[in-house]
Amino acid sequence: MLQIDNLHATVADKPILKGLSLSINAGEIHAIMGPNGAGKSTLSYVLGGRPGYEVTEGSVDFDGQDLLDMEPHERAAAGLFLGFQYPVEIPGVSNVQFLRESLNAQRKARGLEPLSGGDFLKLAREKAGLLKMDMDMLKRPVNVGFSGGEKKRNEMVQMGIIDPKLAILDETDSGLDIDALRTVGDGINAIMRRPDKAVLLITHYQRLLDYVQPDFVHVLAAGRIVKSGGPELARELEAHGYAEIAA
């Protein structure tokens, strides 16, 4: 589904990713772990097409399409979802309006009819329920006044509504208390653990992986994947630290 080959990327002319390769198939959940500054968030933004993240070498193929050649909204329409580490507050724009317009823009790009207001609200209510989020919060402006945990929950509700093929979740576990972590983990499983979908989890900690069992764990250090393994690698990292494993 996603084929990253020898990816090099710079931010403000500073090289961050230095030859990263990774292959993700449908039905798989991958976790990327790594120390601060390794390039984890840069990887997620490069895949999401954030302006200012310059690819200097390498390629990314997403379901047969050149991902790097697509605009952010085209990537979304192609089925890619980026869960933000720091979801953005947008004053004055209601969550419901934003999500309905986004979903319908994606449906239009795929040649589907727009969802009616009623059908959309039904869908939104179902996904909010899954993430134990109050429907009233969905009517409020996007992320404004939300706590850190509520913002992350809102990301997952958005993911549920948009129903992507591939989710890249950048530190979705940070800022969550223990109960919220379980809810979010259950949400990811319910929405994304399907044979036709895949997930790339970016995290510092083992704890989210207790709820969302990865099939593969990779260690990212200094802009490259330096080690890959099964779920046991995450426990090893937790026990011994990155310094020893990445060395």
Binding site: H73, L82, G92, V93, F98, S102, A105, I162
Partner: protein, 243 residues
Amino acid sequence: MTSATLPSRRDEAWRYSDIDAVAAAWPLPAPESIIVPAGGDFKRAIVQDKGAIRQIELVLGKAAVASLHILNTGGAYGRIELNVILHEGADFHLGAAQIGGGEQNLEIVTTVTHAEPGATSRQVVRSVLGGTATGTYLGKVAVARDAQQTDSEQDVKAMLLDRSATANAKPELEIFADDVKCAHGCAIGELDPMGLYYLQSRGLPPGEAKKLMLQAFVAGVFDGAEDEVQLQELALAKLGELV
């Protein structure tokens, strides 16, 4: 406020005006005069979409209430000038949006005089400007010597869609009383690029993402207006042309 001779850019109230357009329209007709009697209630929505110089004199009697909503979008030069006089305990509200692109020059120029004690005025103005358009708000609040307990507010924001667009904003206070509250705030900015990226990452094409953020930027000014829905729709249509 109507000058006998053609104004020039040396006149403060015409400093950013399209003087050629003013000359072409000169002499201006007498300002429209609106008098709201004591205790009266007045509401008006003005859509300026063809290009015009419009002058309105509004006098609010004791404890009268007036609320004016303006959408200034059209023509090469669109100027709306308000001269408001508030008597004791009167309440004046202005909610205005000016939205322009190309080479448009749009301006809202207000003088609100608190002539007697206890009157309130609140002005909320939002401008969205693209291309090489110019949007100006000049707002003077004058508080007479005896007009204690005056409560006035000017809340002015402009959003520039291109670096070549210009926003002028000048709140001006002239206060001769000593027990008054006169707040004014002004901000000129650009759309938050991270917010735009966030919206696009969920599937909104760039134009739609901008439109959604701009719609939110101007939305509040028409709250409580007569024809609120129509004003919002007209504003949205004009925003759609700009992005």
